[in-house]
């Protein structure tokens, strides 16, 4: 009996010559519980106290649905754009040596560092109809500031480093030889990029996409300045939560938050699943 139990224990606890599994796992769980799980449980508890019919009514409120739609669609578009530009930026930084490369490399991280409100105000100043770029775009009929397009621009600025920083190290590891092998087999440059290099980067690109998307969904500071915050058009869900809080309507605030939480979790879970699949598929399983 005792031996069976210890065998089962060993099966569960990965045997490793490096000690510390119990300690680190315990620390991780405690940490996650204190920082993430308890606050989120409080949120769920609070919204559960609403009662089912109230919850459904609050969530299906047209203004709430509009805000959720704006939040998720802009974050999705911005993440897709960031994947394209992030991969190009990473490529330039990894592949070419040019004067000022290190400065460009540092600039990529700036969106991490500057307060998001500053980024939002700066973007608004530039893209407003009387701004530096906005004044040139206005005659073309393109309005950026105070529209969903403005939200997308802000989210692109905020999310870019996530894609660059996840793709860059993996790209660095692609050996020149693999590209030379493709070329010697007759592949053109484009064929090499699309059939050899990019498939190898897929897991990293997906990670960057997931991070940029998650950040975009939750982004508040930069967006509220450039968005114009017109209900049903350019009002994001996080802002609506704040508005509800300011109206002391805590129930509505937690209901919106809970819905965002569930959708975000499902999306990230799906992306993780695709990622695991592509890792296996593309042979990074080791």
């Amino acid at each position: 009996m005792a031996s069976a139990r210890s065998a089962a224990r060993w099966h569960w606890k990965t045997p490793s010559v490096i000690p510390g599994f119990g300690l680190t796992l315990g620390f991780t769980l405690a940490y996650l519980t204190l920082i993430i799980l308890i606050p989120l449980a409080g949120l769920a508890w609070r919204s559960a106290s609403l009662g089912w019919s109230d919850f459904v009514r609050l969530v299906l409120d047209p203004r709430t649905l509009g805000a959720l739609k704006v939040s998720f669609s802009t974050a999705l578009i911005a993440a897709v754009v960031n994947v394209i530009f992030g991969v190009v930026t990473a490529w330039v930084l990894v592949r070419y040596n040019f004067p000022g490369r290190r400065i460009v490399d540092a600039i990529v991280d700036l969106p991490f560092a500057i307060p998001t409100a500053v980024a939002g105000i700066a973007l608004t100043a530039i893209y407003a109809p009387n701004g530096l770029l906005g004044s040139h775009l206005a005659p073309l009929g393109i309005k950026v500031a105070y529209t969903p397009l403005g939200i997308i621009v802000a989210l692109i600025a905020i999310g870019l480093p996530f894609v660059v920083r996840t793709v860059q190290p993996v790209m660095q590891e692609i050996s020149r030889e693999v590209e030379e092998a493709a070329a010697s087999l007759g592949a053109s440059r484009l064929q090499t990029i699309f059939r050899v290099i990019l498939p190898g980067l897929t897991p990293a690109i997906l990670t960057g996409f997931a991070l940029a998307l998650a950040r975009g969904i939750g982004e508040y500071g930069s967006v509220i300045f450039i968005a114009g915050n017109i209900p049903f058009v350019s009002e994001i869900a996080p802002l609506l939560i704040v508005i509800r809080l300011e109206e002391f309507d805590y129930g509505a605030a937690t209901a919106i938050a809970t819905v965002m939480l569930v959708i975000s979790f499902l999306m990230l879970f799906l992306i993780n699943f695709i990622q695991a699949w592509s890792r296996r598929r593309f042979g990074h399983a080791q």
Partner: protein, 343 residues
């Protein structure tokens, strides 16, 4: 396909990697580029492949000037030291890659591509592994996949860059023999780079010995081993001893003593000989000195002898009969039976 390299010069950032190298590779030949690292052997191979562009000089594939053709246009099979397999493709997809990227009008139908990939894998003794991914294969299997992939495009010439360098000794030996058989069966013109002289001498029809961006000697294994034409080749290939000597009146003198070896031209020179090409002498002129160490090496005994004055001693290793009594301090006298002087 016959390949001619004419006065190729290659500079990297003004640092010359190859100085005016010329070489003719016969059709169907298996040829080795041998040299220490930094000798330019890999650069020469990459120039033939088109992975580098020459600074000066020309490269001909048959009668066609291929000097400035791209690697895609040259239709060469290139095998890298670290395999360079596409890790997101399985073995069959790797092998078929060269065919699937062809323009539509030159591309064989899907079934035909698959048939050819499987046929090549069969030839490489990789049957049944076509669904595996590269990271599920051993080093030797990966290198055979790389070779199959290179062969799939029916290359005009097969170029291998240290193909066995990353493999362990046993697999290396197996693959070496296997490559020789493969070459004899298919008759492809094959050039391979190696820094392992044993590999070059065993495998190649002809060996190109390179040093510091120049070709030192081109010849068969017997040529470069038995008739080296420069001090570098003599000391690089096999074991050898090297003594500073002077030729006086047609006789080679070492430290003022006659060695009994005759030479044509007087002057300062270096005497080269191999450890096994000596005979012990009882009397008469020769080289002599105390034994400083000796060791048994398989079927032979090697003695290290100190020659010259105590101030500037020269240590040489010679092969002595197994039954010879050599202990540290006994004086040995010997004379090289095959030797060469470089002035």
């Amino acid at each position: 396909m016959e390949i001619r390299v004419e006065k190729i010069r290659k500079e990297f950032d003004l640092y010359p990697a190859l100085h005016d190298v010329s070489l003719k590779i016969e059709s169907g030949e298996l040829i080795a580029l041998l040299g220490p690292s930094g000798s330019g052997k890999t650069t020469l191979l990459r120039l033939i492949a088109g992975l580098e562009q020459p600074t000066l000089g020309r490269i001909f594939f048959g009668e066609e000037d291929a000097s400035y053709k791209t690697v895609q246009e040259r239709n060469v099979g290139f095998v890298f030291q670290h395999y360079a397999l596409f890790r997101h493709m399985n073995v069959a997809q790797n092998v078929a890659f060269g065919l699937t990227v062809r323009p539509r009008h030159q591309r064989p139908p899907k079934a035909e591509i698959r048939r050819r990939a499987l046929e090549l894998l069969d030839m490489m003794q990789l049957t049944g592994l076509e669904k595996r991914f590269p990271n599920q294969l051993s080093g030797g299997q990966r290198q055979r996949v790389a070779l199959a992939r290179a062969m799939a495009i029916e290359p005009r010439v097969l170029l291998l860059d240290e193909p066995f360098g990353a493999l362990d000794a046993k697999v290396r030996k197996e693959l070496r023999r296997w490559l020789r058989e493969f070459h004899d069966r298919t008759g492809h013109t094959t050039v391979f780079v190696t820094h392992d002289q044993e590999e070059a001498l065993e495998l190649a029809d002809r060996v190109v010995v390179m040093s510091q961006g120049k070709i030192e000697q081109v010849g068969s294994s017997d040529d470069v081993y038995d008739r080296p034409n420069s001090p570098f080749v003599f000391s690089f290939i096999g074991e050898s001893a090297n003594l500073p000597v002077s030729v006086i009146d047609g006789t080679v003198h070492f430290h003022g003593q006659s060695t009994g070896l005759a030479a044509q031209r007087d002057g300062e020179a270096h005497l080269f000989f191999r450890p096994q090409d000596v005979s012990l002498v009882e009397e008469g002129p020769g080289l002599s000195g105390p034994v400083t160490s000796s060791r048994r090496l398989a079927g032979t005994r090697i003695a290290e002898v100190e020659l010259g004055s105590a101030k500037s001693p020269c240590h040489v290793e010679i092969e002595v009969p197994l039954d010879a009594s050599v202990s540290n301090g006994t004086t040995l006298a010997f004379r090289p039976t095959r030797w060469k002087l470089f002035y």
